[in-house]
């Protein structure tokens, strides 16, 4: 029960404390969202813009690049199961008091703190045709695997996906370890005595314990792949080659800045906002329903 702090003295106290936060949130979040919605019905080549009804929507929905960009976002969702599987396995290994697990954990987390700019530049040089990766492959005698990783359209998105996995794995591992550390020791001891193999332990004990966190992480990742992935694409491939790595945010960027006509970009922005809010809403519903089921 929260107390009634001096509420008898002044009703405005809470709002005073909240003032800066509310002002900033309205400014930084609400205003742009409303503006974007409004502007999507205008021709913004001049200010304040000429009302054009749904013309921007027509242009956007007729543009094959619109769907291409969204399709690339969906393709990137494939990294989520990869990250999940590897991170759960690694987390369980590290959790079971392996020698040096602290050190491993520290090191594996490093990719997550490296600035995106650095990752992008490093990866873009690394995967050039005459770059370090291909040189490494030749050195190991794997010449047949040498490819133009950043040049061939079909290979560019996987390179971006690789960068994403590289970076996100550390975060997931640390996340799951933290959750695992609250698993009761007794259950594990008991299973060990019963002679349970590692795989059984993972499936029967650890994964169920991790379920909530996994769920959370999946939702977070989905939202990330759909609408928070611009940085990766921008620094590694700049959308290339030939639109092979255009994601929805990149479509907004390209149409807004380089094509000199923001209309279709605004439509994509609207679509993105709606999609992410929808996902959030759906995940809340889901969580509530699971909560109900587990309590019944």
């Amino acid at each position: 029960m929260s107390s009634t702090f001096g509420l008898k003295r002044t009703r405005f106290e809470p709002y005073l404390y909240l003032l800066p936060t509310i002002v900033l949130i309205l400014l930084i979040y609400l205003y742009p969202v409303i503006e974007v919605f409004r502007e999507s019905f205008f021709d913004m080549r001049s200010w304040p813009g000429v009302f054009v009804g749904i013309r921007n929507y027509v242009v956007a929905f007729r543009d094959e690049n619109f769907y291409l960009s969204l399709w690339h976002n969906f393709q990137l969702l494939a990294v989520i199961p990869i990250i999940l599987v590897f991170s759960v396995i690694i987390a369980t290994i590290l959790h079971e008091r392996l020698v040096g697990s602290q050190l491993y954990r520290s090191v594996l987390f490093v990719p997550y703190i490296v600035p995106l700019v650095a990752i992008g530049i490093a990866f873009s040089f690394f995967f050039q045709y005459s770059g370090a990766f291909n040189q490494l492959l030749s050195f190991l005698g794997l010449d047949f695997l040498v490819r133009d990783w950043l040049g061939k359209p079909r290979l560019a998105l996987p390179v971006v996906a690789t960068a994403i996995v590289w970076r996100e794995l550390g975060f997931a591992i640390v996340l799951f370890i933290a959750r695992l550390s609250s698993v009761s020791e007794d259950t594990v001891e008991a299973s060990l005595l019963d002679g349970a193999g590692w795989w059984l332990r993972v499936m029967k004990i650890y994964v169920p314990e991790l379920r909530n966190v996994i769920e959370f992480y999946v939702i977070l990742s989905i939202i990330t792949m759909i609408s928070q992935i611009f940085g990766f694409v921008f620094v590694i491939t700049s959308g290339g080659p030939a639109k092979a790595t255009w994601v929805s945010e990149f479509y907004i960027y390209q149409r807004s800045f380089l094509y000199n006509d923001r209309g279709a970009g605004l439509v994509m922005a609207v679509v993105l906002i709606l999609m992410t809010l929808l996902m959030l809403f759906a995940s809340n519903r889901l969580r509530r329903r699971i909560g109900e089921e587990s309590s019944s």
Binding site: S2, Y17, I28, L98, P115
Partner: protein, 291 residues
């Protein structure tokens, strides 16, 4: 009979130990491979920052014949790097400090006071975290421009604070909730006003949460480049990350110099990480678990 049983138990134990050793080796192998993969890009960047341009072109993956600091010289003594660093520091420190101040106030109030709209505020704060940055940038640039705020530290600081607020508020809120009511009640009985309670009780008690947020916020602000690219275009105001992307021109590319620049940009964060690891992990994970 007993001897036989003991021998079989012994050999069973040995077998189990051998198996443990075996799987232990496998586990270590996997982990070591992952470690190499995780650190390789860092190695790539560092190793190539001490080569000359010609050395890099002929040998991109290996160690340099000798360590050359030319690239670093170019980066540090070129007029721009210290300026970039200063700008990043200004923007980072200001936004993090103000953000903590605002969010602790907000978290305090949401967790410990009852008032109209509390639920709404809490829920919206959380959901707003998912709006993509690219959507925010143009309307804000136009808005700030109308007030002549562009190309000033204020614009970027305000945006950084705004972007960091939801997570900060949420984290502090979930932390403050755990502060026992009894402490607050006794303070109230002693006649403390809300600000006194905020200043003398909540803040000290949440030192670890605050530390966590400092680390998280600094990491984010330091690495951020899209917003500062758009809002701080004047050369004098450029931040470190933006400056580093500019080392790559359309026409000229000097890889060791770029790598040296990258190392200089990563190093401070790496050092921060090494010394405050505990908080890093805690922070990034805490929100997730409670959520």
């Amino acid at each position: 009979m007993r001897k036989a049983v003991r021998r079989s138990i012994d050999s069973e134990r040995m077998l189990r130990r051998a198996k443990k050793l075996g799987t232990g080796v496998v586990k270590h192998l996997i982990l070591i491979t992952l470690t190499i993969l995780s650190l390789y890009p860092l190695y790539f960047v560092i190793v190539n920052s001490v080569k000359t341009k010609i050395e890099y072109n002929s040998n991109k993956i290996g160690l340099p014949p000798g360590i050359v600091f030319d690239a670093y010289r170019k980066v540090f003594f070129g007029e721009k790097f210290p300026r970039w660093l200063t700008n990043t520091l200004i923007v980072t420190v200001a936004s993090v400090l103000l953000c903590l101040f605002f969010s602790s106030m907000a978290g305090f109030v949401i967790s410990k006071m009852e008032f109209k709209g509390k639920r709404l505020i809490l829920n919206s704060v959380i959901s707003l975290m998912v709006i993509p940055v690219i959507v925010m940038i143009i309307p804000l640039f136009v808005l700030f421009g109308r007030f002549r705020l562009n190309n000033s530290y204020i614009s970027v600081i305000v945006i950084y604070i705004g972007v960091l607020l939801p997570f900060n508020v949420y984290l502090l809120y979930s932390y403050f909730i755990t502060v026992p009511q009894s402490i607050l009640d006794s303070a109230l009985i002693d006649g403390c006003g809300s600000f006194r309670i905020y200043r003398s009780i909540m803040i000290p008690l949440s030192a670890s949460a605050l530390m966590t947020l400092v680390v998280y916020d600094v990491l984010w602000a330091w690495n951020e480049f899209l917003i500062s690219l758009i809002f701080l275009q004047r050369e004098k105001l450029r931040t470190l990350m933006v400056g580093l992307t500019l080392l790559q021109g359309r026409y000229t590319v000097n890889v060791p110099t770029i790598m040296a620049g990258l190392v200089s940009g990563i190093l401070p964060i790496l050092l921060l990480y090494i010394f405050t690891q505990k908080y890093f992990v805690k922070g990034l994970v805490a929100g997730a678990i409670k959520g």
